[in-house]
């Protein structure tokens, strides 16, 4: 199988005054294209830092990251941005919709960044798919939490990404709404054949993915395939 993400001996340290704080150390793993992968661990275990590094949002202190065939080390800030725009999708715990844009406008931002002419049409189709056909022109503040996350889902799939990072996608939602969002996420992922990397506290959710990476204190505790895998 082709590997879409290759992490090799990754390390991340922060310096605060004279103190050195190691957040991640000796992290190595690979993710197969089209798979669903989860990262779990207690608060402060380095999950979000790892996700940020994998997506090229930050630079590692040591080690290498290969995302969609590109070694992130060799790319500058803008090249990494373009890689994200073309190959990567994001879903955040707190939705992170642009409050000044309508639902539709939020969804089509990645497409517009690519210069896509039919962005609006694609955006509308996606919003219909997530059940928000009547919410195109609503601003985020006019939508409920579940609706906002569905808009975020539509946005995440709008640029047909090869890989999608979801950071605690249900963390801000109640159980029922959260479950609906996850079902929708899995369904869209299946249709698009995207690789999905989910960060979660929820072990039930993690068990529904094909592989679980457990982190603790910035180190890998285990990296196992699940029954689903």
């Amino acid at each position: 199988m082709t590997k879409i993400l290759k992490i090799h001996e990754l390390e991340k340290t922060y310096t605060s005054g004279s103190k050195k704080l190691t957040v991640l150390s000796n992290i190595s793993f690979e993710v197969e294209k089209g798979s669903i992968f989860s990262i779990v661990g207690p608060s402060g275990s380095g999950k979000t830092t790892l996700l940020g590094l994998c997506a090229g949002l930050d630079n590692p202190s040591a080690g290498s990251i290969e995302l969609c065939g590109s070694n992130l080390e060799n790319l500058n800030e803008d090249e990494r941005a373009q890689l994200r725009n073309k190959e990567v999708g994001f879903i955040f715990q707190n939705f992170q919709l642009l409050p000044t844009l309508t639902a539709l406008e939020n969804v089509i931002v990645p497409l517009e960044l690519q210069g896509e002419r039919n962005a609006a049409k694609v955006g509308m189709e996606l919003l219909q798919k997530v059940g928000l056909a009547d919410r195109f022109h609503h601003y985020p503040s006019q939508l409920s939490g579940g609706e906002q996350q569905r808009v975020a889902l539509a946005r995440a799939f709008s640029n047909k990404p090869s890989i999608l990072f979801a950071d605690e996608p249900t963390g801000n939602l109640d159980e029922e709404t959260g479950e609906k969002v996850i079902q929708l996420l899995f369904q869209l992922n299946k249709e698009a054949g995207t690789t999905l990397i989910i960060i979660t506290h929820d072990l039930d959710l993690a068990n529904r993915t094909q592989q679980i990476l457990r982190l603790k204190g910035g180190k890998i505790m285990s990296n196992e395939k699940t029954i689903a895998g």
Binding site: L83, Q96, P99, P110
Partner: protein
């Protein structure tokens, strides 16, 4: 990696800037208001200056009433007369200042008599009431009298006016005459009479200050510049002068240029104040957008793209603000002719010129971008990781970029003030002055916050402590508010103090030692009789000053005529052409101080005549102690040596002399006298004037109290204009204030709601907010007033050379007034919190 198609990318940037800006329109409107006001001020004044210049140019002939004039302070010499005759004189006049009496009500007034021969003016009109009076007064042998003067003395056409020994019927009221301003005619209002009656008045006697003017119409082929070059030097040698309508209008243009520049600077200050608003609004605006920027970066937008989205918004706001400001500026300039009416000797025709509009719009964009650049740079450095972390870290402050932005702002301020003032040094002084003022205010604000932190009164009650805490909490607006309030107050107080200094300079001490009536042109033969008229009224003669008129014939070893011809000479022209009015006396006056040499009270026999000159003559003619000056005393050459150089306080309302002779030299020269006295009230003044005019028609009486009233009027008018400009600064200041208060609204509301939820009463929330704004208002206005004390002291010492005694008005009026304004704006902010339930507020506002 493939790059985005640039066209699509640019289109998307505009689209995003529009979408995002649309949703934040109310925030951006305040930002825009700051620009609009500043630009409106600049554009209106720029346009008006342009119109003024154009009008002066277009109306140059009407301003002079002729194509060119030859004038002289004495009867033309043979040579001058020959030139006048050869140029075909069209009209002429002699003008002088004299007392006029109105037999109808015994009123008397100092007037400027213009005795005219011929059909002057040839361009422009004599505006009279009735209209035909201008064309018939010559024929009827009557007078045209200044319209305001006629109103003051309740005189109507048909009444009479007595000038010297001659009484004239008043044919009409003179409303305007080419080349005369409301100001010049209010000191000595104009009275026009036919020239043929001058001798009958018997007013032109020894020492009378008179001016002969000869008006010419130039044939179409005549080159006036060439004429000026050819004839003027010849006329100068004969103590006459040639003025063409073009040179006069250029001179006039330069004079009004100074007024325009001052107004422009005031407008520029308003604009700078607006820029503080821009910087503050954009700072908070961008801070709130950083999360969006991080999201966009996560979605693949580059640093350049995110930066450009907000830059485009700022440019757009600057552009719209510039256009709206320019439109308002166009409207406003229609107000200027009314405000400046008294200063202008003509009606200003308003026309719209393109240059000020372009300047306004360019300024709007440039200022917005420059002052928004610093906060905008924050978008460049924001990490997309912020999205995952959800942190609210402070903006990255890149050192180099900040320095570069500061330098660009300072350079821009310097270049613009240089362009306005046309002088690099003044531009630099202005820029440094602005920088120092801003730095002091920012320094005080920062010290204030540190001081509160260090000496925090932890034993105070909750509301008082909370209000103090608000001053240095994260994202506080203390610095911006103190800058806005401080700068506004600084401007208003400086203007107020300046007006005070100017008025104090002209105020008169009302006591018997200070003369307030000056009797001019008293002939030697009249002196005793005049004194005998004054003394029986219980008045004292305070000064009895003899005056001898003379001109310079030779300076050191060079004849004055030779110096005139010497093109390399740097000597000030006025020295060469001036008719000096010289006195002789034994001692120095209180207003004089010897700088160099020794005072000589009387000439010693066989020794040279040691005279004393004022320091300005010494400077302008490069003279030193021991240098020789030869004066032409009405035909007799008199050799003198400079014995002393004096500093003279010209500001004092008394007779000061640039040249003083020792006694024992000029006693027998043809001379006239100036007598001064003190009258306690207006009735005594009128009584004295009536008697003197009846007995001695040639004597002019100057009532200094009237002059003071006039100067006060003029100053009031000037301060009106200054206040008009200050109004822009204040209004901009208020908008900046509202903007700053609004910027922190969300935070304050959230906090107030939280307090409310925890059970705080309306009164407590109100107290916390009120106290906070009272601290800010008081500190800001106090800093402004204190700084204005420094600037006014500097102005008093270096510009007005007067002592400065600060008035308490700014402390009693401005300080509480501005604090109250700040308080009101601040309280309006939390109105909704006090009136509605907490949750409703949070839903609505957040």
């Amino acid at each position: 990696m493939s790059k985005l198609p640039s066209k699509t990318s640019v289109k998307w940037l505009f689209k995003m800037a529009w979408r995002d800006g649309k949703a934040s329109i109310s925030r951006l409107m305040l930002f825009m208001a700051s620009i609009i006001l500043g630009i409106a001020a600049v554009v209106s004044i720029q346009l008006f200056s342009d119109n003024l210049k154009q009008n002066i140019k277009n109306q140059s002939k009407a301003l002079m009433g002729a194509d060119f004039i030859i004038d002289s302070r004495q009867l033309p010499t043979k040579k001058v007369q020959a030139i006048i005759d050869s140029l075909n004189v069209a009209a002429s006049e002699v003008n002088f200042v004299s007392m006029a009496a109105f037999p109808k009500n015994d009123g008397t007034k100092l007037v400027k008599v213009r005795a005219i021969e011929g059909n002057f003016p040839f361009y422009g009109t004599l505006d009279t009431e009735p209209v035909n009076a201008a064309s018939i007064y010559q024929e009827l042998g009557g007078a045209l009298v200044d319209a305001t003067l006629m109103l003051q003395f309740n005189i109507k056409p048909g009444d009479s006016i007595k000038l010297g020994k001659q009484t004239f019927p008043i044919i009409g009221a003179l409303k305007s005459i080419p080349g005369s301003t409301a100001f010049s005619s209010s000191v000595a209002p104009t009275v026009l009479i036919p020239f043929r009656f001058v001798d009958d008045t018997e007013l032109l006697q020894l020492g009378s200050r008179k001016e002969y003017q000869y008006f010419f119409i130039a044939p179409p082929t005549m080159d006036l510049d060439l004429l000026d070059k050819k004839i003027d030097p010849v006329l100068d040698d004969e103590n006459a002068d040639l003025d063409t309508h073009t040179s006069t209008s250029e001179r006039l243009g330069r004079r009004y240029d100074n007024v325009s520049r001052f107004l422009n600077l005031a407008a520029f200050i308003a604009l700078l104040l607006g820029c503080v608003g821009i910087a503050s609004s954009v700072h908070i605006y961008i801070k709130e957008k950083l999360q969006n920027v991080a999201v966009l970066k996560c979605l693949g937008a580059t640093r350049k793209q995110t930066f450009l989205i907000y830059l485009l918004q700022v440019v757009g706001i600057g552009l719209i603000g510039g256009v709206l400001g320019a439109v308002i500026g166009i409207g406003l300039q229609y107000a200027f002719p009314y405000i400046l009416q008294g200063f202008l000797p003509f009606d200003v025709q308003i026309a719209i010129t393109v240059q000020p509009l372009i300047i306004g719009i360019t300024l709007g964009v440039l200022m917005s971008v420059l002052f928004a650049l610093l906060p905008l740079l924050g978008t460049w450095y924001v990490s997309p990781l912020e999205v995952l972390r959800g942190t609210d870290e402070n903006l990255v402050k890149p050192r180099k970029a900040r320095l570069f932005t500061f330098a660009a702002i300072l350079l821009f301020v310097f270049l613009f003030s240089f362009w306005l003032l046309k002088d690099a040094i003044f531009g630099l002084v202005f820029t440094v002055g602005i920088l120092i003022t801003f730095s002091i205010m920012a320094g005080i604000a920062s010290l204030f916050m540190k001081a509160i932190k260090k000496y925090f009164p932890s034993n105070w009650g909750f509301t008082k402590r909370q209000s103090l805490l608000n001053l240095f909490r994260p994202n506080n607006q203390t610095m911006v508010l103190i800058l806005a309030i401080g700068l506004g107050t600084f401007l208003i107080s400086t203007l107020y103090f300046t007006k005070d200094i100017l008025l104090a300079k002209t105020s008169i001490e009302n006591n018997k030692d200070n003369a307030n009536i000056i009797l001019m042109d008293v002939q030697n033969t009249q002196k005793e009789a005049v004194i005998n008229t004054v003394l029986p009224k219980g008045l004292e003669i305070i000064d009895n000053i003899p005056i001898v008129t003379m001109r310079l014939h030779q300076i050191k070893d060079q004849l004055v005529n030779d110096i005139r011809k010497d093109t390399a000479s740097t000597m000030n022209q006025w020295i060469l052409n001036h008719e000096f009015r010289v006195t002789y006396r034994k001692s120095l006056l209180a207003s004089e101080e010897i700088l160099e040499g020794n005072w000589s009270s009387a000439v010693e026999e066989g020794k040279p005549i040691l005279i004393s000159i004022s320091d300005n003559i010494a400077r302008d003619a490069a003279l030193e102690i021991g240098d020789q000056l030869i004066f032409n005393v009405q035909g007799v050459l008199m050799e003198t040596i400079i014995g002393s150089i004096r500093k003279v306080d010209w500001g004092r309302m008394q007779l000061n002399f640039s040249v003083v002779f020792p006694t024992g030299v000029l006693e027998n020269a043809p001379q006239f006298n100036v007598l001064t006295t003190y009258v306690s009230d207006e009735a005594s003044s009128a009584d004295l004037q009536r008697d003197l005019v009846k007995k001695f028609p040639n004597i002019s009486v100057l009532d200094l109290r009237q002059v003071y009233t006039l100067i006060e009027d003029i100053l009031n008018k000037i301060s009106w204009i200054i206040n008009f400009m200050a109004f822009f600064s204040i209004l901009t200041g208020i908008i900046v204030l509202i903007g700053s208060v609004r910027n922190s609204k969300y935070q304050r509301i959230k906090e107030s709601v939280l307090l409310r939820t925890l059970g705080a009463k309306s009164k407590q929330i109100l107290q916390i907010t009120a106290l906070e704004y009272i601290y800010l208002g008081m500190l800001g206005s106090l800093v402004g007033i204190l700084l204005s004390l420094i600037s006014s002291q500097l102005l008093a010492v270096f510009l007005f050379k007067e002592p400065f005694i600060p008035s308490v008005v700014p402390f009693l009026v401005f300080l509480p007034g501005i604090t109250m304004l700040v308080l009101l704006i601040g309280l309006s902010n939390i109105r909704s919190v006090l009136k509605s339930p907490p949750l409703e507020v949070l839903r609505r506002e957040v």
